[in-house]
Symmetry: C2
Subunit: 243 residues, 2 copies
DNA sequence: GGATGATTCAAACGAGCGTTTGAATCGGAC
DNA sequence: GTCCGATTCAAACGCTCGTTTGAATCATCC
């Protein structure tokens, strides 16, 4: 048996150009996995098609990552870690600029959206492919994916919740928890979308509906939802009354 | 070979009680499939565990439904068809009561949510299990699922879009298309949720956060988002400016 | 230039998959 | 009581899966 976990295996190589075929084996696997997991999902992507697409040997995945599951986590962590770190830093900057006063709801939300948008526009970091993968991972029932994501998101979400609580003092902590849930839902569903959009059709096909325009439409929707009067302030909804 | 597709195979039986083990074979398969597809997703659910859970023979799925994919569609269609039909009827009722004037945004939205809520509360129709399955199906990349869902939803969504257009004349058709997309995102993500909620934790564990309360929180959020001023009315968001 | 450890490779492993088969069984009609 | 189509059943088919193995290759240092 080769020394699979004795030391970080990829330590021998030196540089990595953005050339698709000449890159590091590890990187080639990650790139192909990002693409294929996004297109077909985790379960429906086989290591054989993945390693073929990456032009590496079948055994390379288990050698470099240990297992298919660990590969999936590596694919996510490569982009998610820096993105969430950037979100935290941006939030800190927003709060610094507010000088003790609560930052505005809009600015907090933008601090959350901007790193996602930057990532989507950066082809060197997977472009919008990765965000679509992330949106789908969010809805995946596999327990290891759910546990992994909740760990990756816990700190970032916690910090944003505190910031929103100060910006929206009329909301109880519980009410805000729900609304952040809705925000993440609309966001991840939208990012995962593209073809789901065809449900609603009529988006002019020639028009470049790029990610920036998308978030420009999403932001006002979410800000208005976050600022809506909480449940108790309006009359109770009459749901499920008799016909 | 038995006459697999010569006539509707289940036509010999007569009555079906809600007893879990004494029901129709077809029904037992559908019930088990609903549960397992919800828990593990389509790909990760094997016909062997499914037929074992339903206490039927392995071959019964192919005999009664033809294939695993067709079974999945049958699981969806059993609940989705009536629910979307109810949504359409409820919308017609709302528009009738408005007597020519555009119906209010709230009422249109409620007409969409109420059938989902009714289904969620009806244990005989799968309760909230099915809605969770539906939320996950919405994010599934498998093409046959996406095509199937877009067909199932096309008419309902189209009618609601026209109604919302009248209720929200300040929105362009394109803007509304996006907002309905966000609405469906928040809705399906929320319905698929349950354990995703633990991302945000702190929802008191003893408290019965049932589906009614959930939609009571979701509705004001969505209404506010739908009514938000469209993009052009506010200053352009300054995304991705330099630091 | 031989030793050493990291990496790649072809091949195989055992398991589980969706589906098919053909016989056994059932239940009502005649 | 016999027939017949509908249904159930145990067994197998062919295939693909993720993973493992042990030898071959490569790069590096002494």
């Amino acid at each position: 048996m080769a020394g699979r976990l004795t030391s970080s295996p990829g330590a021998a190589r030196k540089s990595a150009q953005p050339d698709p075929t000449s890159a590091d084996t590890k990187t080639r696997i990650l790139d192909a996995a990002e693409q294929l997991f996004m297109e077909h999902g985790f379960e429906a992507t086989s290591l054989r098609q993945l390693t073929t697409a990456a032009s590496v040997n079948l055994a390379a995945v288990n050698y470099h990552f240990g297992s298919k599951e660990e590969l999936f986590q590596a694919v996510l962590t490569r982009r998610l870690d820096p993105m969430n770190q950037e979100r935290i830093e941006l939030l800190q900057k927003v709060e610094r600029e507010a000088q003790g006063k609560p930052a505005s709801c809009e600015k907090i939300l933008f601090a959350m959206l901007i790193p996602a948008l930057r990532l989507a526009r950066d082809e060197r970091r997977g472009g919008s492919n990765f965000l679509r993968l992330l949106g789908r991972a969010y809805a995946d029932p596999a327990p290891f994916i759910r546990h992994f994501l909740s760990e990756q998101y816990a700190e970032m979400i916690g910090r944003y919740k505190e910031a929103f609580l100060r910006a929206l003092p009329q909301l109880s902590r519980q009410e805000l928890t729900w609304r952040l849930h809705f925000v993440m839902g609309a966001l991840s569903y939208t990012l995962a979308g593209t073809d789901a959009l065809k449900l609603f059709a009529q988006v002019a096909p020639g028009e470049k509906e790029n990610d920036e325009l998308l978030l420009q439409r999403l932001a006002p929707f979410l800000v208005a939802g976050l600022k809506a009067p909480p449940l108790g302030d309006t009359r109770k909804l009459e749901l499920v009354s008799g016909d």
